[in-house]
Symmetry: none
Subunit: 216 residues, 4 copies
């Protein structure tokens, strides 16, 4: 039940931009802990130290609020990765840096990651939003690989490239999930392991090796 509060209001008038960030911080935190449905606007408002009507005034509906979280966190992550993997380096170095940035981000923003992937994946309203983001990632990775191939004068079908990239992204997400659950784990080490599994596999693929289903 509501607690009776002191009669002298303790709020400070703050500029809109600041308040919005406070709210998004709170929202990301609560959404990631509780999940979209179980999160309550009450808790988010409380956590932001602000009243509910303000949340509605600034960031709209619960759904809109979630999308805003998605956007902010997604952008941050994409930028972190893109910034790390400069296009003029060799493919493996770029991939490595990308992975390192990715796991670093996840390690540092576990809440954000949880919002982005664990919560958003299931729920229809956000599938589109999320698909876009992932597509961007896949594209980046596929780009790296393709670049490397062409540098070696090789040619690989678009689809194949995409699937490899997809598996790579998928495996990373999965390890990231695991990382988000193990606060003591070291992001860089996790990145190294991922790189091992990924690069050695991808490397051979890129050099033309192919595995075929046995006739069994």
């Amino acid at each position: 039940m509501l607690a009776r509060v002191s009669s002298t209001p303790a709020y400070k008038r703050l500029p809109r931009a600041v308040r919005e960030q406070q709210m998004l911080d709170a929202a990301v935190k609560v959404f990631s802990r509780r999940g979209f449905h179980a999160a309550s606007m009450d808790e988010i408002a409380d956590d932001a130290g602000i009243s509910k009507p303000m949340v509605y005034a600034y960031l709209g509906t619960k759904e809109e609020l979630f999308v805003a979280c998605l956007h902010r966190e997604g952008t941050r992550m994409t930028e972190a990765i893109a910034g790390a993997a400069a296009p003029d380096l060799p493919a493996d170095v770029r991939l490595w840096r990308g992975l390192r940035a990715f796991f670093g981000f996840v390690g540092a923003h576990r809440d954000g990651w949880a919002v982005l992937y664990r919560q958003a994946r299931g729920s229809q309203p956000f599938a589109g939003e999320l698909a876009t983001m992932r597509a961007r990632l896949v594209e980046v990775v596929a780009g790296m690989l393709g670049h490397a191939l062409r540098a070696e004068g090789r040619e690989v079908g678009e689809t194949e490239l995409e699937v490899v990239a997809y598996a790579l992204v998928g495996a990373s997400e999965s390890l990231a999930d695991w990382l988000a659950d193990h606060p003591e784990a070291d992001p860089e080490k996790t990145a190294t392991r991922m790189m091992n599994a990924a690069w050695l596999g991808a490397g051979r693929l890129l050099h033309g090796a192919t595995w075929h289903p046995p006739q069994v």
Copy 2:
């Protein structure tokens, strides 16, 4: 209000076991479409063609019902995979068959898969349940790889093995997710692609190759 008077009841009296399966079918369907929170017991009961109290009487709380779904689907999947990968075959064949069974299952039970992974992943109450299942899978995969290694007289650290297995399972889950979203995609083809990415990578790892982070 009017009591139902007609002497021919609109329902059929069915034995408990049958009704329980009907309910689980409905529950899996509804949970996978709506997500755990958004799913309503009303809809599940309706979909099972039975009244809510029966659901509660037979399968308990919403949470317990979800766990029951998890159990049934998880067991089915595990059995499908275990049954496909007989222990006396070469490692790559076993892995291939396991993957084929896995993607085959996902392709055929997209609802079940969605329940198992997409919904359960985020929500705390089911994390344990899910972790157990995944652990079982990882163990199986690590077992396959280890078996193959020892057959070649090689030795690899437990942890390394587990990480490779983990990445493999993760990548598969991710592709499975993608498969669940693309009804037109072919499970077998997806399995082949996964095998390519996985085996060529795992294969080199198993033969002693290692990748090291560049000093950049």
Copy 3:
């Protein structure tokens, strides 16, 4: 949720009278523990080792069942008291024996007492039933006192007599309540105490003493 039961039914065909007593025993127990509303027909049936439809077939509605309990317990108690206080003894001896019987009954049938007084008092549907029983008691007590008075050649108004009797019954009920809550307490001792408080007061009243409100 319902437990799955063995397929070979374990019930015994018993004559109606026996079953009815089993049910009443169970009902008294459950009603006294949970209260009328909170008691569930399920629990009563379970406790009686019988299925719900049998309860309905033999003893009717939940309300009817409760009334049946009331009846049985009330009759038992009334008989215990009436049997103890033979009409040809001196008034104080009769009162003493009545009280002893009353507290003895309560001590031995705490469940029954709880049903009779604690549960029935509040709920409208049973007020009548209960009032009748209490009236019978008050009448008995008033009769004892009146008999004693007339033996002494004194005369007291009906109403006064009734009020004294009412207070006496009330005090006894209250101590009985306390007794029902203290399993270790000794009924006989409680009866003695009640008799002290009651008789010394009643005694003086009977001898013509009267207290008047002070003019304050």
Copy 4:
């Protein structure tokens, strides 16, 4: 569905304290009429002229609401009695005033009394609350009697005192119950009768008389 569009709302915005009292009034009324279990939060909210969520927001769970009622009514009653029986008066005058205040309160707040005693008595969750209140009363009464005794230079065991006080309180509660059921009865007259039965008995006890069980 249609949203309420009219610009003149049908409700009045009232400060929390006012609404809380309205709710408690309604709750006491409904609880006393229906009993705890049969009372519905819907009816209470309706009766208070407010929507259910407000009740939950301000006063919490149904159980918490009931306890709040218990508290308010219990405090009112205790204060009424304590305020009437000033400690520097003779014992009989104090007792008389206490009784008068008690029956006066019950007569004026029949609903409150019903909530306090009839409903709370049976149900476990409130037994403690109620026991505390009754203990306070018993203590006050025992205090009065003990004070009178010591003034007369007499000495009586603690337990005896408490039992007399307990019986007295019990008898009063019982008569109060009767009073609550007879709207036409006069509280003051009932108090006088109670005082008669109580004081003449207590008086003799206080003067050293004792009754012993006959050897029968």
